[in-house]
Point group: C2
Chain length 218, copies 2
């Protein structure tokens, strides 16, 4: 699988990536926006943040001084640092975003970040076509999460593991190109469409309602 | 925090625990039920499984031979190995269950396992009082997940980080004893009640509908 390339990569403050794909996305980025203390993990891995966004409560004094020309303090408490970083990118007009480092430590942060991903996709979807829309995906050390607001096709490869999560219960999903048939299955539980697999170079999910969160292993 | 002690600990096939609390729960267990290949991680950590349940497709031939007197093969494909292990415990009458090792590797497995936790709680709740009910919790390296089917009080400590996830949107939750007030907040997103904190030795969640999944750091 080729890593999704984007000019803008957000580094969240979970486990810093170790898999080659999120690292390649990071290396290829034209700008790197860090969530708060993630700047220190990034520096430890030999990268430099272009912006550091968030509460800034988890940055050391040394990092505050070092990055003083690129700090964006957003003190409000109703969203987390990943949401603040995304909003910053959104307002700058950076609408093609790859998120890394958003999982792997506290599981409640992982769940929260994955839920925010759907909100980010909805914000991008609301852009009018003059802005050219946008895209946001989240890369972990094991795979890629894509938020799906409407029926869509996914590039894939035979045997790729695929899990589908319905953010609201009752969404009916039809799938083409997956090993286990989804013929209008109505999800009432998150786990019901996990552990599927792709049969070839693409699969398609057709649904109304939603959104869905789709996970593909690398 | 004292680890929840249980006679029955299920070891799922995610990241083997490294935190002292899940390890203490494991050491105190009277019986340890492993999901498939988790038996090998368990053995590598110096423990012995009492039962190994699942597809058994991720066990080496050596492990198959070594544990041949304690294998429970459940080949069906509609539930995962954690659900199979829980059902085995449930049918044996082991209704006080602690799950460890269920997170930390593939994020879709993590999400699936957390969603199953609610189903396990519902199965235990359906037991009549003659069986004495039951309890199931999931310990990670960062905290404890408790499924809440109805309003309940949680033991806690001041400053403990608390995140609440509504498995279905629209649940209204009232909280006592948390830093950020929840006064009938109706959740429409998983992230909306994350990153709260306890004010003292207990907090209480009052809600109708549900279920909720409650995370507390250690």
């Amino acid at each position: 699988m080729n890593p999704p390339r984007s000019k803008c990569v957000i580094v969240a403050n979970g486990m810093f990536p170790s898999h080659p794909l999120p690292l390649a996305a990071l290396r290829a980025a034209r700008r790197v926006v860090c969530c708060d203390g993630a700047a220190e993990k990034l520096a430890a891995a030999g990268f430099e943040p272009d912006w550091v966004v968030g509460d800034l409560d988890s940055l050391s004094d040394a990092s505050r001084a070092r990055y003083r020309d690129r700090l964006v303090a957003v003190p409000e408490q109703t969203s987390n640092d990943l949401a603040k970083a995304f909003r910053f990118c959104f307002e700058q007009g950076w609408h093609d975003v790859v998120i890394v480092g958003a999982t792997g430590l506290r599981e409640d942060h992982t769940l929260g970040n994955l839920a925010w991903l759907v909100d980010f996709a909805q914000a991008l979807h609301a852009l009018d076509s003059a802005h050219g829309g946008g895209r946001v995906v989240l890369l972990t050390d094991t795979g890629i999460f894509t938020p799906a607001l409407a029926s869509m096709e996914f590039r894939s490869h035979a045997g790729q593991q695929v899990s589908i999560f319905a953010c609201e219960p009752g969404v009916q999903v039809y799938a083409e190109g997956l090993k286990y048939a989804l013929e209008g299955v109505s999800f009432t539980r998150w786990w019901q469409a996990t552990l599927n697999a792709s049969l070839g170079e693409a699969f398609k999910l057709v649904f109304e309602g939603g959104p869905l969160l789709v996970f593909q292993t690398y």
